[in-house]
């Protein structure tokens, strides 16, 4: 296993009969992901895109080996479904659902930590290792197999950057969406460590945004623990103060959470700073030229 998934990862889809779950299942299968089973309580016996649907994960496990689950379960039921996945011994849970009550998210994370399950999200587009495994909603045409890892809070921003890199002929080893917050399962620093240890990743692209302090924490982690080149962008340079811009934490309060402060911290840690997705591609090309 490279960064959480590989070509052989067997995937279970929770909430597979829902509108989003069914569409994304089709898109994942079209890409080549091994979607082996789906679960929706009360819909056992159905098929979605040729994938057998079960009432419970334990039922699915009688017939299939499962390595990872991706959940499209609506917010009111997301906690129960996540606990079921964790209790079933699944070691990677991708939680795409948005607007789950905070305390449910905390309970899912606490339960997962005790069981040794990695939770990506909530509110994440998922994880995409081009050419290997698509465990999420990323539009696959914007990405290609390669050796640069991307970590991002925002889904759409990672597509934008993937598109710019791919158009410049730079492929990706894995694209990891953390979710928009305000609570995260796997953290930015944990993903940075995974990329640092991944033999198939040569460089890391970190997509940050205004608000909070995650980028500053990433900066100090990079300074101490990351030997691979890191290229970072912080979006929200033109953001006004005191307005939350779509993500719960994306707000500048006084002099806290500004793009300038984050850019300074990352520069100090030795990261390359880009202002646009296209500059990210340019910088990676320069780094490659130098080495």
């Amino acid at each position: 296993m490279v960064v959480l998934v590989n070509r052989d990862t067997n995937v279970l889809v929770q909430g597979i009969t829902g509108r989003s779950g069914a569409l994304q299942t089709k898109v994942m299968i079209d890409y080549g992901t091994n979607v082996v089973a789906g679960v929706t309580p009360g819909k056992g016996g159905m098929e979605v895109e040729g994938v057998p649907v079960y009432d419970f994960i334990v039922d699915a496990m009688e017939h299939h080996d499962i390595d990872a689950a991706i959940s499209f379960v609506p917010a009111p039921f997301a906690k129960d479904a996540s606990i079921e996945a964790i209790d079933s011994g699944i070691k990677l849970l991708v939680l795409t659902t948005e607007e789950i009550p905070d305390q449910d998210v905390l309970a899912i994370i606490a339960h997962a930590r005790a069981a040794g399950t990695t939770v990506l999200g909530p509110g994440t587009p998922g994880l995409f290792a081009p050419g290997k495994c698509k465990l999420g909603a990323h539009p696959s045409r914007m990405f290609q197999e390669g050796r640069v890892g991307i970590v991002s809070k925002s889904g759409a921003l990672s597509y934008e950057v993937g598109k710019a890199m791919t158009e410049a002929g730079i492929g990706q080893s894995a694209v990891v969406g953390l979710g928009g917050g305000p609570i995260w399962g796997i953290s930015q620093t944990e993903v940075l460590r995974l990329f640092e240890n991944d033999p198939e990743t040569d460089a890391i692209v970190l997509l940050g945004e205004i608000g909070g302090s995650m980028e500053e924490e990433a900066a100090s982690f990079i300074a101490d623990n990351i030997s691979k080149p890191v290229v970072a962008i912080i979006v929200g340079r033109a953001a006004p103060e005191g307005k939350s811009l779509g993500h719960a934490g994306a707000i500048i309060e006084g002099d806290r959470g500004t793009a300038q402060a984050k850019i300074a911290a990352l520069e100090e840690a030795g990261a390359y700073i880009a202002r646009t997705p296209y500059e990210i591609a340019d910088i990676i090309e320069e780094i490659r030229g130098d080495s």
Binding site: Q24, V27, A110, G123, P139, S154, A156, L157, E160, I183
Partner: protein, 376 residues
């Protein structure tokens, strides 16, 4: 949802957390039954009311009368005072800070305590961070007794057993109310024990589906006081922020929305709106988003829609854009950047409707900025 102090104290009382005897006065002519010494506290949702003169300490009953006159004609940071909490003055020996909230980065709830109570905790955090004790704990077990004993030692509070009981009450209030913050500042040490002199409680709007009656009651109470008509149902998932410029901006992601604001500025323009639809949308959502931007005053000079769908489907986006244009017309230049899930279908629908789409974000931004300036 942010609660008034008196609402937070209502919750505290229910969980056995001691608060001073009080009377909520919502009309200046209401008879005050409490007598001095007392504290008059304006009930506003804005922070920093103490500094803004919203709290008056009264040593005799005449001061209560004049204080109420003063507060009911006052605005606290622009917010009119519609209620005043009259409270018995506590016999304060010492003031602490105590709160339960969540640390999103670590994915745990945290207990925050400080011996420096009664002052703005942000200021304490900035100037003397060593005076704040932060204790992460497991949401499934709650804060453990030993953790509170450690806190008692760190803030030098002599009765660890009393503090433990209080923290348990706070935790129960936190979980059962679906709160994201339960804060007592100051928490007073008095001869009768610990008393919550203030209450700051934030509730999680995402939990409204299972807290319906409870949240509704609190919201109705706020609506009555503020003469407002807020509802718990979120109309939609759209984040709409008014800005200073003239390029109307709609995006299907927060990150790309922020990036687009930056690129608009880099291109020499300024955005008029940040309008983000959320990752999972529908034709109705983009229809509503366009309406919000087009109804904004002053009117935008160009409309830039930036789409890069994952969950979001381009056929549905095209449907919503076309429907809005058919029904209302869009009388400013429209620039649509469309790519992502089902983009062929979406682009074909747009072309049939006579609406061009762009593939390049930079080109679409340049175009929208130039059109807003009337350059092309």
């Amino acid at each position: 949802m942010k609660l008034f102090e008196f609402q937070g104290k209502g919750i505290f009382r229910r969980y056995g957390i001691r608060v001073p005897d009080s009377q909520l006065v919502t009309d200046r002519n209401e008879k005050v039954t409490l007598s001095a010494p007392a504290v008059l506290k304006s009930q506003v949702l804005t922070g920093g009311r103490g500094k803004a003169g919203g709290i008056i300490v009264c040593s005799n009953n005449e001061e209560i009368a004049s204080g109420l006159d003063d507060l009911f004609t006052k605005e606290i940071n622009g917010e009119p005072v519609s209620a005043v909490l009259v409270e018995d003055a506590a016999d304060i020996e010492n003031e602490f800070y105590l709160a339960i909230t969540l640390d999103g980065g670590n994915g745990t709830p945290i207990l925050i305590a400080s011996a420096a109570g009664g002052v703005d905790i942000e200021t304490v955090a900035k100037e003397t961070p060593d005076k704040i004790v932060t204790t992460p704990f497991n949401i499934l077990t709650g804060p453990s007794d030993y953790q509170v004993r450690l806190v008692a030692r760190a803030i030098d509070y002599p009765d660890a057993r009393e503090l433990t009981a209080l923290v348990k009450q706070m935790f129960t209030a936190f979980t059962e109310s679906d709160a994201t913050l339960v804060e007592i500042n100051p928490l007073a040490q008095t001869p009768e024990g610990l008393v919550a002199l203030d209450a700051k409680v934030l509730l999680d709007d995402n939990a409204a589906f299972r807290q319906r009656d409870f949240f509704q009651e609190l919201l109705s109470e706020q609506n009555r006081l503020l003469n407002a008509s807020e509802t718990m149902e979120r109309e939609d998932t759209i984040t709409f922020v008014d800005l200073e410029g003239d390029v109307g901006m709609i995006s299907d992601g927060a990150g790309t929305g922020m990036l687009t604001l930056d690129l608009i500025r880099d291109a020499g323009g300024e955005a008029a709106t940040f309008c983000e639809m959320g990752g999972i949308t529908s034709p109705q959502v983009i229809y509503d988003a366009i309406r919000k931007v087009m109804e904004r005053t002053p009117p935008v000079k160009s409309l830039l829609i930036v789409l890069i769908g994952g969950f979001n489907r381009m056929d549905e986006m095209a449907e919503g854009i076309i429907k809005y244009r058919e029904e209302h017309g869009i009388d400013v230049p429209l620039v649509v950047r469309m790519c992502g899930t089902l983009e062929e279908v979406g682009k074909e629908m747009m072309t049939e409707a006579g609406l061009p789409t762009y593939d390049s974000l930079l080109e679409s931004v340049d175009q929208a900025v130039a059109l807003a300036k009337g350059d092309c």
